[in-house]
């Protein structure tokens, strides 16, 4: 059976902020087969905007056949998707790319991990936190999950992470949690809940013991991922990062969305890996970012 674009019915649509939209659509196939960190290509209905928009999968509900995507409205394509209503259809191909399955398989039992997302890099990490918590990607390795979320100002999805682990927050304006970036939050351990932060002041809330962390999983803007890569190297922690780049085909053929690889890649035969096909999730050591 060949793959093709599929029309997927929108079951629900919510605005999480002014410009961040959460859509649940029906796709039993994607819901059954997707792993955290993979993405879908979403196509516009316009004959002018031709390229698919790669959008990470936030969550799947295999029992209901539902897939959730959360995206920011950044241009014409995402604006068109946001204007859809419940009952409308999205043209979708997915799941695409390599998710976090290899990363999770490499974890030791009872490991202590940090899942961190910045901005619109946060949504795919919800699916990862859920998978790790439920043992979906591995035979329940009993992970302790620390979630570190970085925001510009307005929070979204943070409450949904709380069921899977301790949530620490950084915001650029300092209104929530630690003022600064996710690495500042990792080091300071503020939860973003100002009342409990004040109450806990370091004695009760121990924050994250960085010497005890087995792996970091990260998705976010490139400066954040560069920071996580060097932070992980400095502390000798395995880091897995999810990259993004402008894509055209989304399936590994056009070579638009490449990143530099540390070694000569066995497919490209040069220092390039395809983000859509070989990634978007890479071990931080594999890529030169």
């Amino acid at each position: 059976m060949k793959r093709s674009k599929t029309l997927c019915k929108i079951i629900s649509k919510d605005y999480l902020t002014d410009d961040i939209v959460s859509i649940r659509f029906e796709s039993p196939d994607i819901a059954a087969s997707a792993v955290a960190g993979q993405f879908v290509s979403v196509y516009t209905d316009s004959s002018s905007e031709l390229l698919p928009r790669p959008i990470s999968i936030c969550d799947v509900e295999p029992d209901k056949g539902l897939v959730r995507i959360v995206f920011r409205i950044v241009g014409k394509g995402t604006a068109m998707f946001s204007e859809k209503k419940e009952g409308d259809y999205l043209q979708i191909i997915g799941p695409l790319g390599n998710g976090y399955s290899e990363a999770v398989a490499s974890l030791p039992d009872n490991s202590n991990v940090i899942i961190t997302g910045g901005g619109i890099g946060i949504p795919p990490m919800l699916g990862l936190a859920k998978s790790l918590n439920n043992g979906d990607l591995c035979d329940n390795k009993n992970c302790k999950i620390n979630v570190v979320l970085g925001y510009r100002d307005i929070l979204f999805l943070n409450e949904e992470f709380e069921q899977y682990g301790n949530v620490y927050i950084a915001s650029e304006d300092g209104k929530h949690g630690t003022k600064g970036n996710v690495i500042d939050a990792i080091m300071s351990g503020k939860t973003g809940n100002n009342a409990s932060d004040e109450e806990n002041t370091s004695t009760v809330n121990p924050g994250i013991d960085i010497n005890n962390i087995d792996a970091i999983f990260a998705c976010g803007p490139m400066p954040m991922l560069r920071g996580i890569k060097s932070f992980a190297e400095e502390h000798n922690i395995e880091a897995w990062i999810s990259l993004e780049e402008k894509m055209a085909c989304g399936i590994g053929a056009c070579l638009a969305c490449v990143c530099n690889s540390t070694d000569v890649d066995s497919h490209s035969m040069v220092h390039n890996k395809r983000i859509c096909k070989d990634g978007p999730v890479f071990n931080a050591k594999e890529v030169d970012i």
């Binding site: 060949k2 793959r3 093709s4 674009k5 196509y43 004959s47 002018s48 905007e49 031709l50 390229l51 698919p52 191909i93 780049e245 402008k246 894509m247 055209a248 085909c249 989304g250 399936i251 590994g252 053929a253 056009c254 070579l255 638009a256 969305c257 490449v258 990143c259 497919h267 490209s268 035969m269 040069v270 220092h271 390039n272 096909k277």
Partner: protein, 325 residues
Amino acid sequence: MDRGNNNYTERIITDKNEGCKPKEIINTHVNIAGIEMKNPVTTASGTFGSGMEYGEFVDLSRLGAVTTKGVANVPWPGNPTPRIAETYGGMINAIGLQNPGIDTFISRDIPYLKQYDTKIIVNVCGRTVEDYVDVVTRLAETDVDMLEINISCPNVKEGGIAFGTNAKAIEHITSEIKKCAKQPVIMKLSPNVTDITEMARAAESGGADALSLINTITGMKIDINRRCFAVANKTGGLSGPAIRPVAVRMVYQVRHAVKLPIIGMGGIACAEDALEFIMAGASMVAVGTANFNNPTATVEIIDGIEEFMKKNGVKDIKELFGCVE
């Protein structure tokens, strides 16, 4: 219709109401420079890799031919990112001909394509005449069907378009390649010239067996929010439906300037678009950017051409070749 059987030279179209009784027979076969293809649809170089990734979406045996991404004598890393940007009705790309080199291509990509009942057109790129000759010589030992010579890529500083915009250079490189080529040679022309017929005549004088046109049109897009170029290379090649009327016009002009068969391309997104090229004078068409919008575009176009023929009583696709004078 039996999509699985690819050995039929003529596809039997049956009317749904009449069961299996053959109603009419249509012939979609085309012959370019002695190479017989089951239909006039191939892929535009660079949009389809070597078919591997699209093999998940398309039965490659349904295609008249697969035209591969350009291959050089050694691996090329290509340009920095971002390499593409969407534009109205199209896109700009400056991939920079990233490719794994001829060794990997011969050991990995050709055997992959040989599994399918389709013809293989290998796009060849280089920086110097010697580079092209090197690749063409290596390919002479292989079982590929045709060579398409990329003298028109706008995204590499040397080679590529430097050859494609100068008639003398085109004639020279064509004749040098013809000396060592074992397969028919298709020269792929650039639209970034004042008179494309001059380039077509130069390729014909150099001994080309066929022509492909058009490659992308050099363009630029500015990201007004970041106040920078949308692709790292500053300029890139514009493709997609936005360029189609230019491409149809050039196919029409070239067809009247030379005797060579033409593979037409430039913004073909559906069967109607493909038929425009065929009626303007192309003997075959290539589907490029449309693959990005719809990975099954190629087979939908093949089906659509057959449907058009059936509906309009066209028994042989050749009846449509250049039918608009």
